[in-house]
Amino acid sequence: MRQLNVLQQWLFGRRRDEQWPLILGQRRIFIVPSAAGMLFAVVLLVMLIGAINYDLSLGHALIFLLTGLGLVAMVHSFHNLFGLRLTPGRAEATFVGALARFPLQVENPRRQQRRALELSFSAQPVVAVDLPAEGSASITLPCLAQRRGRLDPGRVTLVTRYPLGLFRAWSYIHPSWSCLVYPKPLRTPLPPVSAASVAEHRRGDGGQEDFAGLRPRQPSDPTRHIAWKAVARRTDEQALLVKQFAGGASDELWLDWSLTPGDRDSEERLSILAGWIMLADEQQACYGLRLPDQQITPATGSAHRAACLQTLALYQTEETRDAA
């Protein structure tokens, strides 16, 4: 197994590609007969034995024509990849459980079309693309984001079996590609503003928030916020109501690690934080993020949201630990 790895290393290389656009040359293209090609060879061999045995001249001609066809198909499969120009794009961040999308520009500088190019990360869905003569295509390669942090999708395998399926020609492309994977947002209601400010900052001290309305209670709401009077007035046995506050200086919402349920594991607490960020962003609130070892001062906007989510994504991952 180890020898195999060494062989693979030697054959295919594992270094990342640095020069863009990448032009596929013959050093990068590998080609072997496909399973169908093997079957074809066996069929030809059996046919040859038959033709010799029955002394069929036309049979010989047929077999030789098909042999030539196989050789020509090999050349064509190779040329279907040869000279392709590839330029990777920047990948957008995504959430755990969603697909990360890596854009790749594929150009065909040649005056013949190229067909049935299949690109994929290993063990990921395959994207098939046809390129017209002197045309290009922008494709996005999907890669399932399974873990929070920085996702390195690895190398792209570019395969083609065109035109006859008798050969599998392939090439590996390994851009320095990565994308951030945020924790999967868990939709829970935002922590109350007062709670956030009171708990840590004592800002406003209960007097400055404007009462903004009532909403059904969620398990994460502190009991202090239950609108007992409003609950008492209601005749139907509905859920408890909590007071909501808005406006004033208190719209500096702090999304604090310590406000997440302490009995959950840290990944889940990060998910809750991510959910809060999404919700706060939707409500265009001014929010800050506080984690045990770092904090981001309150602000609004998509850049802020991205910064917050990135902090969550990289929270206590190898990357941040190395940086520390």
Binding site: H60, H79, P109
Partner: protein
């Protein structure tokens, strides 16, 4: 490399695969039992309907049942599952039923491989030019189906064009391999019983009607190519079996060819010998149909004491043989007593009137007796016809004194009977007489319709002398051929009857093409391969030399195909080339145009960085912009092309 998961077949590719099944299997309909053809057609139509209606495929158990039923049907039909015909029938059935379980691309590949295999089986039955063309057409279709399967949806014309291109590129490989692939002469193992079914030709006996049946066939028996001139038509007697035993009904060879004593005939040839080679169609017998009488034989052949040339093995495939013959000869001036005895034997009691007639001639010298019989045929009311009345037990009597209508076998038979009855040794010779020269390639074509029987008489001091009693009745049969000899209302032999001039020309061309095909394609055996290669300078090539040449030539061809398909850059137009040259020249002087920089912007930058080049560059840029983006004229192109030369020399400007 990971194994790819089974890929479902693109539904739009299904018609392509059904077309493949149809194209590769349907020519077998000619010799398959009708029920199999019906089953095949029904299965394909069923699949087509399922595809059309987007219905699911039938369950596996149903297909398994169908396969079992069809296989037992084949086993019952052919009494075996192992022969050539039953094997083909099984392949056809698989081809019919496989599309019904075709779900994945892998299934489709099986259909296509089956198609390739089925193509090969056609050549068991025919290797004619049309079959060869069918090979090319079917191969194109199979290739197109492969392209459709792996290249996705495209207009059918584009797919067919691509397939044609691939095959065109494969053709050189086919030619190289065909010429150089070391040929092995088969068979590698025993062939099945039915491998050589259905051959027609002369048989080793002459029963009533056997020759007239042959005469009605237009099939070619053999072709001969003469190195020098071709003998007179009247001298073109091609010797087949010599029939010297008569039982009153049928003439046979007294001893089967295999059991004859190894006695070499003594032939004294006179005149210039003719050397020629014959390409003889497979007839399943040993005789080689040499021109009477052969003086030198092809390797491996022997001459029987009765002068016919025999191959060592029965002729199972069309083969070429080289002979020398002399038409003026004395053969076996001294004959063995046994042979003479055999040439006098007659069954007792039959044909009393013929015997009585012969009795009157007994006192004459043998040659005069033969002449008497010929003049009898010539002067009495005898007729040449292919539809003679049926004869009874005393066939010769009935013919001589009753019906008087017949063709060569009647005349030869009666002639020999009369001579033997008169005590002159005589025998019947079967073979072919005449032939037709194809003006296109100069080959003499001898057909089954030229089948003939004549007589030989042994005259002391002269040996065996040929007498053709038919010539006495219908001299035109010998001079001009069968058509001229037959009465108007007789059915004419196939093909031969076509007399229209343009049709005859067409036929000559077609037959010449067929002859070339036979020699170059079908007759390309180890011997011929050696001949061709030695003509190309490979004296005495062995398989190692051939393999080496094969590898080298294939490599060269592969390189050519690679270059052919190499990416070709579009050639820049002259304006662009001139501008690029100018920019390159500037780059050598230290100002490099960025890829994104347009001509005007670049000129502006040059004006800042190299003021001394400003005017020239701006002129070049203006010309280029006008040519490229505006309505530039040829004058501007000239100016632009000149700009490079007007650049100051490098040393003056380079920093």
């Amino acid at each position: 490399m990971r194994p790819s998961p089974p890929q479902p077949i693109d539904q739009a590719a299904v018609p392509w695969l059904l077309a493949v099944a149809l194209a590769t299997a349907s020519p077998h309909g000619e010799h398959l039992p009708p029920w199999l053809s019906v089953l095949f057609a029904a299965a394909l139509l069923w699949r087509l309907w399922l595809w059309w209606q987007r219905r699911p495929l039938p369950p596996r158990w149903l297909l398994a049942l169908l396969v079992l039923a069809a296989l037992s049907g084949i086993a019952w039909q052919y009494r075996s599952l192992l022969g050539r015909d039953s094997g083909v029938a099984m392949l056809v059935i698989f081809m019919a039923l496989k599309p019904l379980e075709m779900k994945t691309r892998r299934d489709a590949m099986v259909v296509i491989m089956l198609g390739f295999f089925l193509l090969l089986t056609h050549y068991f039955y025919s290797q004619s030019i049309p079959t060869g063309l069918w090979l090319l057409a079917s191969c194109t279709l199979l290739t197109a189906a492969l392209i459709r399967l792996h290249g996705g949806s495209q207009p059918p014309a584009a797919i067919i064009r691509q397939a044609g291109l691939l095959l065109l590129q494969a053709l050189p490989f086919m030619l190289i391999l065909y010429l150089l692939f070391p040929r092995v002469s088969g068979p590698l193992w025993g062939l099945p019983q039915d491998a050589h079914a259905g051959r027609s030709g002369l048989s080793n006996e002459m029963a009533p009607g056997s020759i007239s049946n042959l005469i009605l066939s237009g099939a070619i028996a053999f072709r001969s190519h003469f190195a020098g001139g071709i003998p007179e038509k009247a001298d073109l007697y091609w010797r087949g079996p010599v029939l010297d035993a008569y039982d009153g009904l049928t003439w046979r060879a007294s001893i089967p060819a295999a059991g004859r004593p190894r006695m070499v005939p003594v032939v004294e040839a006179r005149g210039t010998p003719y050397s020629y080679s014959s390409i003889i169609e497979a007839h399943g017998q040993r005789w080689l149909l040499a021109l009477d009488v052969a003086t030198s034989l092809p390797a491996g052949a022997v001459q029987a004491p009765t002068l016919e040339v025999l191959a060592r093995e029965p002729l199972r495939a069309r083969s070429r043989f080289a002979f020398t013959s002399s038409v003026d000869y004395h053969a076996n001036r001294s004959e063995t007593a046994a042979a003479l005895q055999q040439a006098l034997a007659l069954p007792p009691m039959i044909n009393p009137r013929a015997r009585a007639l012969a009795e009157q001639w007994k006192s004459r010298p043998p040659a005069r007796i033969a002449d008497a019989v010929l003049s009898l045929f010539r002067n009495e009311d005898f007729h040449y016809t292919l539809r003679p009345p049926l004869l009874g037990a005393d066939a010769v009597d009935e013919f001589l004194f009753g019906t008087r209508r017949g063709f060569c076998e009647h005349y030869a038979s009666a002639f020999v009977f009369l001579l033997r009855a008169a005590g002159v040794p005589a025998r019947v010779v079967a073979g072919y007489q005449g032939g037709e020269v194809n003006p296109v390639d100069g080959y003499l074509i001898v057909r089954q319709s030229d089948a003939h029987a004549w007589a030989e008489v042994w005259l002391a001091g002269e040996g065996w002398v040929r007498y053709d009693p038919t010539a006495a009745v219908a001299p035109s049969r010998i001079e001009q051929g069968i058509v001229a000899a037959l009465p108007q209302d007789e059915p004419l032999p196939a093909i031969v009857g076509l007399d229209a001039d343009w049709l005859r020309q067409l036929r000559y061309r077609w037959e010449a093409a067929n002859n070339a095909w036979n020699q170059w394609v079908l007759g390309y055996n180890p011997q011929r391969q050696r001949d061709i290669l030695s003509r190309f300078g490979m004296a005495n090539p062995d398989w190692q030399g051939m393999s080496a040449a094969l590898a080298v030539l294939s490599g060269v061809a592969l390189l050519l195909v690679t270059v052919w398909t190499l990416p070709r850059r579009r050639r820049a137009d002259p304006a662009q080339r001139a501008w690029q040259r100018y920019c390159k020249a500037l780059a050598r002087r230290g100002v490099t145009r960025a890829a994104w920089e347009g001509p005007i912007a670049f000129a502006r930058r040059v004006a800042v960085e190299r003021p001394q080049l400003a005017a020239l560059t701006s002129e070049a840029a203006r010309c280029y912009a006008a040519l490229r983006y505006g309505r530039g004229d040829s004058e501007q192109l000239l100016v632009l092309q000149e700009c490079v030369h007007r650049l100051p020399a490098r040393w003056r400007t380079s920093p």
